[in-house]
């Protein structure tokens, strides 16, 4: 962005000669703002104003039905910490974000390395792994709900009974199994997309490095550890940032798969926010939760970015 702004100083040189000098200068200086105006408008209308409103609502008893609201100080913030449902949602959300980020990274990098090698039908295999990223995650949730139906007639339970002879497994009915199921489906759905991301970075690594390492007698594992992994650190930063932010604000997959149950086992913070804000018309409390969650997510992402940048600086 800085480069583009400084380059704009060159515009007067190409401006029509008949245009007065002052006007040309104003045009030159105003041009960047003209281009920035649409995105600024979008940012202000869709992000800054709602964010400011949420902050204001969090100190009030806003109910969503009228504009009549009263200042109640920090009462909504105090209530947020007392709600066991919210605490449960927070723990599952953090666990979901952390586990999916680690699991997908551990699976996507080796998968990308395999997909980067030459073998017959490589393009088809790449497409197959990328496919789960195409349909809406809500649709995937419904399909997996059908597969993981906890009754004996469920797709997976029928297969298990036919092949192994074991009884119906309560995939989505047991709290722990439901949590595991949601995370496994999330990993399945996103690994292919992130593998393609890593693949793009892998293809930018010059083959000279591998040729030199081969001459030096390095094996595949050594080349992966000493060349591939260090040069993938920028990709790891991008991928993990996307996974962590997506994981922390997740709503669609757990909701379509389990509706947050059984009990509060797979409830996420976003689901609680939506239910309190919309269904229960408690805009004030939902806004307080949103502000707290924003600060928490900000802190996590800042920490993650700091670590990633240090690793990038060290290995690249």
């Amino acid at each position: 962005m800085a480069l583009s702004l400084s380059r704009s100083a060159a515009i007067p040189r190409t401006a029509p000669l008949g245009v007065p000098r002052d006007r040309r200068r104003v045009t030159a200086q105003g041009a960047p703002w003209l281009f920035l105006a649409p995105i600024m408008a979008i940012f202000v209308v869709l992000y800054a104003i709602p964010l400011g409103q949420s902050l204001w609502f969090s100190f009030t008893d806003a109910n969503g039905y009228t504009t009549d609201m009263h200042w109640i100080g920090l009462a909504n913030y105090a209530a947020a910490f007392k709600d066991p449902e919210m605490v449960s949602a927070l723990w599952f959300t953090l666990a979901y974000a952390a586990i999916t980020t680690v699991a997908i990274t551990c699976l996507a990098i080796p998968l990308a390395v395999v997909l980067n090698t030459r073998f017959p039908g490589r393009d088809v295999v790449r497409s197959v792994f990328f496919f789960p990223a195409v349909p809406s995650i809500a649709v995937l949730g419904m399909v997996w709900g059908f597969i993981l139906n906890p009754l004996g007639s469920g797709v997976l339970n029928s297969a298990l009974h036919a092949v192994v002879g074991i009884g119906p497994v309560p995939w989505l009915s047991d709290p722990h199994l439901a949590q595991i199921s949601v995370i496994v489906v999330a990993v399945w759905a996103q690994t292919g997309w992130h593998a393609i991301l890593y693949l793009a970075y892998l293809q930018s690594i010059p083959s000279d490095y591998y040729d030199a390492a081969t001459i030096d007698g390095a094996g595949r594992v050594r080349m992966f550890r000493s060349i591939t992994l260090p040069l993938l650190t920028p990709a790891i930063t991008v991928s993990q940032l996307l996974l962590m932010t997506g994981g922390l604000k997740v709503y669609d997959l757990p909701f379509t798969l389990t509706h947050g149950g059984p009990g509060f086992a797979t409830r996420t913070v976003t689901q609680s926010l939506i239910e309190q804000g919309v269904a229960q018309a408690d805009i004030g409390k939902a806004s307080a939760l949103a502000v707290l969650f924003l600060l928490l997510v900000g802190a996590i992402i800042l920490g993650q970015m700091t670590v990633s940048r240090r690793l990038e600086a060290r290995y690249t």
């Binding site: 962005m1 800085a2 702004l5 400084s6 704009s8 100083a9 200068r25 104003v26 200086q29 105003g30 960047p32 703002w33 920035l36 105006a37 600024m40 408008a41 202000v44 209308v45 104003i49 109910n63 969503g64 039905y65 009228t66 504009t67 209530a79 007392k82 709600d83 449902e85 709900g145 139906n149 906890p150 009754l151 007639s153 119906p168 309560p170 995939w171 989505l172 009915s173 047991d174 709290p175 439901a178 389990t258 509706h259 947050g260 149950g261 059984p262 009990g263 509060f264 239910e275 919309v278 269904a279 229960q280 018309a281």
Partner: protein, 434 residues
């Protein structure tokens, strides 16, 4: 960062110009924001502008236009000078959310739906008109009036109710040698054991909301307490612990006895219906709305609907008053709105609606034609003999309903107890503030 870089490349007069440019940009942004707000409100109110006067009535429904069109046509035919401006949002969260936004921005329709999920806010903040003195309210059932009454004022005109009970696959029961429906809770459990011994899955209920059997058993308890169970809890004369624990203990026998699988904690209504349609289960807990779907999917099933049997032999139905019609307190066309609700609650309007939806209508001057399997239920429902906790709770029904469903799932899964369930509801009510 970019600004600093720009500054270094420009003459000294640049900051003043930059301020002008920034001011213009800010003005443009503000204008855009304001125009966005004003255009949306203008768009919403254009159909109900003052020029249209009483020749239009706007109606926001959660029944689709296909369902409501015959009723709307009937109204427009009966009132040639008035056109209905119809809008729709599907139930429940989307409808509630859209109505909230429209009310807050002053663009809500003249007539809209009041329901269990929004009635406390609509009635408490007097966002809807008191209909208690309207002549057409004499046609509305007492249970329906009670549901939408607060402090002596009635804010909704509901024309139907729904019931829920146990749907039996009579052929599967006969296969296990059971010829009559159970009359007591013990007989119900005994039939379950008989079916299980015959290799038939006895009973299923979805765990995605407070179940039909639990609601009906709580209805029996409410009846034993003179119908004041919820009022007493809210008045702090009783607690959930003192009124619900026994009933929860009875109900949890479904799982401890093995009559119903603990997998029900993760089942949805559609999954349970699919099992019944395939003949995989002998009995399910469901509502009157399910019968049409099941008969369409499995026309050869030999079914019957019966009430839930209590421990003392009392038979009771789960059920609730359906959503009602409400008039916006700030309706732009109040006269036309009254005429529209009057038609919706009239014999002609109710007949057209019933034909479209097969609902159990409860208005005094019209008797609905229903599937024979619903006859017994309809009689009880029209007499107001049903109970559903979420609708009966005087306040915080959504907060408590979410908590009750979560606690029920934990009880089904075996990770909670009836006492913990009831205590959690007491704690939730205390934190929400009765």
């Amino acid at each position: 960062m970019s600004l600093n870089q720009h500054e270094s490349d420009t003459p000294r007069r640049a900051p003043a110009r930059r301020r002008r440019v920034m001011a213009l940009s800010t003005l443009a942004v503000a204008t855009l924001a304001l125009s966005a707000c004003s255009s949306s409100s203008a768009g919403s109110t254009s159909s109900t502008s003052a020029g249209a006067a009483e020749s239009t009535v706007s109606f926001f429904s959660w029944d689709t236009q296909a369902t409501m069109q015959p009723v709307i046509d009937g109204f427009e035919k009966a009132n040639p000078g008035i056109k209905v401006d119809f809008s729709y949002s599907p139930p429940v969260p989307q409808y509630v959310s859209t109505l909230q936004t429209r009310l807050r921005s002053g663009t809500a329709a003249d007539v809209f739906i009041i329901t269990a999920e929004n009635k406390q806010n609509l009635m408490g903040q007097k966002l809807v008109k008191d209909l208690s003195t309207e002549p057409f309210m004499s046609n509305i059932a007492q249970a329906a009036k009670d549901t939408y009454t607060k402090d002596g004022a009635t804010y909704g005109a509901a024309i139907a109710s729904w019931g829920g009970g146990i749907l039996y696959n009579k052929d599967l029961l006969a296969k296990a040698g059971i010829t009559t429906e159970p009359k007591t809770w013990s007989e119900f459990l005994a039939d379950g054991a008989t079916l299980k011994a015959a290799g038939i899955t006895p009973f299923l209920e979805p765990g995605d909301g407070v179940t039909v059997t639990l609601s009906a058993l709580l209805g029996i308890k409410n009846q034993q307490l003179g119908g004041s169970m919820d009022a007493d809890i809210w008045a702090k004369k009783q607690t959930f612990a003192s009124t619900w624990t026994d009933t929860l203990t009875t109900w949890s026998q479904l799982f401890s006895s093995g009559m119903e699988t603990r997998a029900a904690a993760g089942l949805t209504g559609d999954q349970v219906m699919a099992e019944f349609e395939k003949g995989n289960v002998a009995m399910i807990g469901t509502g009157s709305w399910a019968l049409g779907t099941i008969k369409t999917a499995a026309p050869n099933l030999n079914v019957s609907f019966a009430a839930v049997p209590g421990t003392d032999g009392t038979l009771y139905w789960c059920g609730a008053v359906s959503p009602g019609y409400a008039i916006n307190a700030k309706a732009q066309h109040p006269v036309a709105a009254e005429k529209f609700v009057e038609y919706l609650t009239s014999k002609a309007g109710v007949a057209l609606y019933q034909k479209q939806t097969q609902s159990i209508t409860t208005t005094a001057d019209f008797t609905p034609t229903l599937d024979p399997a619903l006859t017994e239920m309809a009689t009880a429902v029209r007499a107001g003999q049903f109970y559903l906790p979420v609708v009966s709770w005087p306040t915080h029904s959504d907060v408590l309903g979410t908590e009750a469903t979560a606690q029920m799932q934990q009880l089904i899964a075996g990770s909670s107890t009836p006492a913990k369930f009831a205590a959690a509801l007491d704690a939730k009510l205390a934190s929400a503030g009765s």
